[in-house]
């Protein structure tokens, strides 16, 4: 077989494949072009999942008729003139291949009316072959229509999903774009039916609420400014956390990007308030100097290389923490959910340890509704302070502490709260130096497998900080020589704990970065050391625990992300008893 140069059309098709894998890819490129053209209103129509039609109409600057031909040629762009300009890329579609790529795999029509030109123009591209520019007149802006996408690449067409699924992907892409450009109006129409219409010049929080469906008052504002960059953003309250990272939108210099490290920064900021595999929806607009970021890493530009990654990481983490600290984080239970939980979690008959007198007391407390007795404008202060208002504590099944606060019934999971407390104290202590470690009389042998033994040298510095000393004994076995005094006092056995820890390290359940792994290991320690559900606490222990609750910053969730406290506001009770 001889080697020949590829025909031109084929080269374009291959290039197109990198950018335009499916209709959503085409839509993304076209919308980015529209934003670059200064559009304030963009409309996207698709038909048959984008296969028979993708149309993007904008009110941007437009393309002059004599530049239309150039616009649809490969690697033509108005945005970069020299290689040096690559260093200062601020616009989206700099690669100059979007229109050409789409033209290579569809029947493309571009119609545009330029502000400066008298007359607009129209050009058609079919299977990569350019037609002549013809006159066209319309409103200022550009309309790009791609029909019969992938008609000349059956293999690609075969990989498309159902029209419904493809339309959903286009919708997701557009929602991400709507978040990336909150001031641009964006309307989306599928097969003639409007899916959404986000108005132009919307307030950013309104836009985030509209796109994510999260109420405005559940969104926390993020803000930070440092040498490495600037950040503004919205973060949904932790109770909106869901699995995966799909709810997280990072917009770097106006470009939606994917970046595991920055996403992890959000999670770090939320540490202790969410389960480790979840994240609440968040939209972060980050601006960094263009020369501090390399966006030309990947054709879809979704991954970038940051020069000040670690500075941005800590900026984001700190901004998230600040926002959470400022917010009142005790999750309020929505009413219907509360009804369900009560039905399933409480026995049908009253628990025997609620005496009639205390039940009666409870009722008077409710009917005399503290909220209505409040002097107008009197502020009871933040919830975390009102523990002092506790009058009596009901301990349910040696697991839950039920207390009364000024305007709510508060249920605390004793294990979760204690765990949270231990975590904060351990973290504080580790910050001041190595944890005191108790040498063991007889090293405790552990079977951990060869892989874990290999990891030992890498983990030893962290283990030493935590007061754990492990020595290798042979292939797959090791021995614990020292163990933190604290864990021994809390009756945690060295062998099983270290085995568990190392097996998590081997199975990559622990993050490889020492700082992140530290917190995870402290989580483990706190959990093992904490009092358990079912442990009967003495009055002194109860008092101590509740006193600490006040002192612990963000004490509303245990490190595993389970809530520590549930508040049932009196209004909810009143509503349930039809008093409202």
């Amino acid at each position: 077989m001889s080697i020949r140069p590829l025909p031109r059309v084929l080269v374009d098709q291959i290039a197109a494949g990198e950018v335009v894998e499916r209709p959503a890819g085409a839509v993304k490129e076209l919308v980015e072009n529209a934003v670059d053209a200064g559009a304030t209103q963009i409309e996207v129509h698709i038909a048959d999942g984008g296969r028979s039609l993708v149309s993007v109409r904008d009110n941007g600057l437009g393309i002059a008729p004599d530049e239309l031909g150039l616009a649809v040629s490969p690697h033509a762009t108005s945005k970069i003139a020299t290689v040096h300009d690559l260093d200062a890329i601020l616009t989206m579609g700099f690669r100059g291949e979007a229109l050409a790529s789409i033209g290579a795999v569809s029947r493309l029509t571009v119609r545009s009316q330029c502000k400066s030109a008298q007359e607009g123009g129209e050009i058609r591209v079919e299977g990569g072959r350019m037609g002549d520019v013809r006159p066209w007149s319309g409103a200022q802006g550009t309309i790009v229509e791609a029909e019969d996408l992938f008609h000349n690449i059956p293999a690609r067409a075969a990989f498309l999903k159902s029209p419904r699924a493809e339309a959903m992907r286009v919708g997701e892409t557009l929602m991400a774009m709507a978040l990336a450009h909150p001031t641009v109006g964006l309307r989306f129409v599928v097969d003639g039916k409007q899916r959404f219409d986000y108005p132009a010049n919307e307030d950013t929080t309104q836009r985030v609420a509209a796109v994510t469906g999260i109420p405005v008052d559940a969104l926390l504002r993020l803000q930070a400014e440092e040498a490495a960059g600037q950040l503004v953003g919205c973060l949904a309250r932790p109770e909106f956390a869901r699995h995966g990272t799909r709810g997280v939108h990072l917009i770097l210099n106006g470009r939606p990007i994917l970046d595991r490290s920055l996403t992890h920064a959000i999670r770090e900021g939320l540490r202790g308030l969410i389960e480790p595999t979840t994240l609440p929806p968040a939209v972060l607009w980050i601006s960094v100097p263009p020369d501090r970021v390399d966006v030309n890493v990947h054709p879809t530009k979704s991954e970038v290389r940051l020069r000040d990654g670690s500075a941005l990481f800590s900026m984001i983490r700190m901004a998230v923490r600040r926002a959470l600290d400022e917010a009142n984080l005790v999750p309020k239970m929505p009413l219907p959910q509360q009804l369900d939980e009560v039905k399933t979690a409480w026995p049908a008959r009253a628990p025997s340890n609620i005496s009639p007198s205390s039940a009666a007391g409870l009722e008077t407390g409710l009917s005399s509704s503290p909220t209505s007795e409040k002097a107008p404008g009197f502020d009871f202060g933040p919830v975390t302070r009102s523990v002092r208002a506790v009058e009596r504590i009901l301990v349910l099944r040696d697991s839950f502490l039920v207390l009364e606060e000024a305007d709510a019934l508060v249920v605390i999971d004793q294990h979760a709260l204690h765990e949270r407390m231990m975590f904060e104290r351990l973290k504080d202590r580790v910050g001041q130096g190595e944890l005191p470690r108790q040498a063991l009389l007889v090293p405790e042998p552990i079977q951990i497998g060869a892989e874990a033994v290999e990891l030992l040298p890498q983990w030893q510095p962290l283990l030493t900080r935590l007061g754990i000393e492990v020595v290798e004994l042979g292939p797959g076995s090791a021995a614990v020589q020292s163990f933190p005094v604290l864990l021994l006092e809390r009756k945690v056995s060295p062998g099983p704990f270290v085995e568990d820890l190392l097996s998590r390290a081997v199975s990559k359940h622990l993050p490889p970065e020492p700082e992140a792994a530290l917190d995870e290991v402290l989580d483990m320690m706190a959990c093992k050391a904490a009092i358990k559900a079912g442990d009967c606490l003495s009055d002194a222990e109860l008092e101590d625990l509740l006193a600490q609750r006040e002192a612990i910053e963000r004490s509303t969730n245990c490190p595993h992300g389970r809530p520590t406290t549930i508040r049932i506001p009196v209004e909810d009770l009143e509503r349930r008893f039809h008093r409202r």
Binding site: L435, P436, Q438, L441, V442, G467, E489, S493
Partner: protein, 390 residues
């Protein structure tokens, strides 16, 4: 035992259980509280939370079991008017007997009920059929005990070791005290993996068979209490059928504790006791104990450790709790070497210092990362591992 203990299987006519006795309340309270110690706080079976009282032959026998440990005790401060038996909840009986201020109490069984009468008080306590109670053995006097130890000595052996025993689920073999008998020597050893207490005494050999037995902590706690009350005579120890049997006293004032043994092999303690510690400091027991206690005041759960710094003629004990403060306690000692610092969990030191009754102890060290050894009166050895402090 020569009491009229009827076999469990015997179905007795209701009149046979109609016991009636008048008993000295203090003796009754002591016996009830002691035997109740075996009863499990939480048990699925209410019968296992009961105490069995048997009146007969001029004495009163109390027995209870958690199925692993059985305790039986007799008292003779009683006037048995009618022999019989009853099975009643231990905690209620104990509360009643303690709450009463009468010098004597009258106990009458009526079926499964126990009527308790004082001068102006009258309780009727619901019980269970005696036939439901598991059998609790008495020390079998017909079998020769393996060895005998004076009660005061055995009590000391327990005091000096039991505190160091583990209370862990994962390392079962150290959840008890090793009784190692070789010839005329009985060594008791306990460890929780961080410290080890060893106490030796001589025993009266009655059989030739040496042996190692691990006795569960709970059984020894009960035995310790029993010996606190009756530290006279010899305690007969017999290991057979996978159980340890301790027999105390004879006749109408006897007591028996039987217990299952802890399975597993105890760590080889002789490897653990260091032989090359070459720094020896003799110290006044109570002043060292006081100094450690004072320094321990400023330690926290996260930073439990005191630092002992020896310099010529001087020991300085320091501690630091990050959020609370620091302590520095100075004690005189006969140390004359180079400056040496070593950290310990203060709790481990005080645990041992408070059970040592000799006025002086010897602390032997090797270096900051090596185990320390406390020795007293040639019979007590306590190995304690150091804590590394910043």
């Amino acid at each position: 035992m020569d009491g009229p203990i009827l076999p469990v299987e015997t179905t007795m006519p209701s009149t046979a259980t109609a016991m009636k006795i008048v008993c000295d309340r203090t003796a009754l309270a002591d016996a009830v509280s002691l035997v109740s110690g075996v009863v499990a706080a939480r048990s699925p079976s209410p019968v296992l939370q009961c105490l069995r009282i048997t009146a007969g032959d001029g004495q009163l026998r109390f027995s209870a079991t958690d199925l692993e440990i059985g305790v039986a005790q007799t008292i003779d401060e009683v006037d048995v008017q009618q022999e019989g038996e009853v099975l009643v909840p231990a905690d209620k009986l104990s509360q009643i007997v303690k709450a009463s201020d009468d010098p004597t109490l009258t106990l009458e069984a009526e079926g499964d009920r126990l009527r308790i009468r004082g001068l102006g008080s009258n309780w009727s306590l619901h019980g269970f059929p005696v036939s439901e109670a598991p059998e609790v053995e008495d020390f079998d006097e017909s079998i020769t005990a393996d060895y005998e130890v004076p009660a005061v000595i055995l009590r000391k052996q327990i005091q000096r070791t039991l505190f160091a025993a583990a209370n862990e689920q994962s390392r079962y073999a150290i959840n008890g005290v090793l009784f190692e008998r070789s010839g005329q020597t009985l060594r008791c050893v306990a460890t929780d993996g961080r410290r080890l207490a060893l106490s030796s005494c001589s025993c009266e050999k009655t059989t030739d068979q040496d042996g190692n037995t691990i006795v569960p902590s709970k059984a020894l706690q009960l035995l310790g209490k029993l010996l606190d009350a009756r530290a006279q005579g010899e305690v007969r120890v017999s290991i057979r059928d996978g159980r340890a049997h301790f027999g105390i006293g004879h006749g109408s004032r006897n007591a028996t504790i039987t217990s299952t043994l802890v399975e597993g092999s105890f760590p080889p303690w002789s490897d653990v006791v260091p032989k090359d510690n070459d720094i020896h400091v003799t110290m006044d027991t109570s002043s060292l104990a006081g100094a450690v206690r004072r320094a321990a005041l400023l330690t926290s759960q996260e930073s439990r450790g005191v630092k002992l710094t020896f310099s010529a003629g001087n020991l300085v004990i320091t501690s630091r709790a990050p959020d609370t403060g620091e302590a520095e306690i100075r004690v005189d000692c006969n140390y004359d070497g180079d400056e040496l610092s070593i950290g310990f969990n203060p709790g481990y030191l005080t645990d041992a210092l408070k059970i040592i009754d000799s006025p002086e102890i010897i602390l032997s060290l090797k270096g900051p990362q090596k185990p320390g050894v406390l020795k007293a009166d040639g019979e007590f050895i306590y190995v304690v591992m150091p804590v590394s402090l910043d």
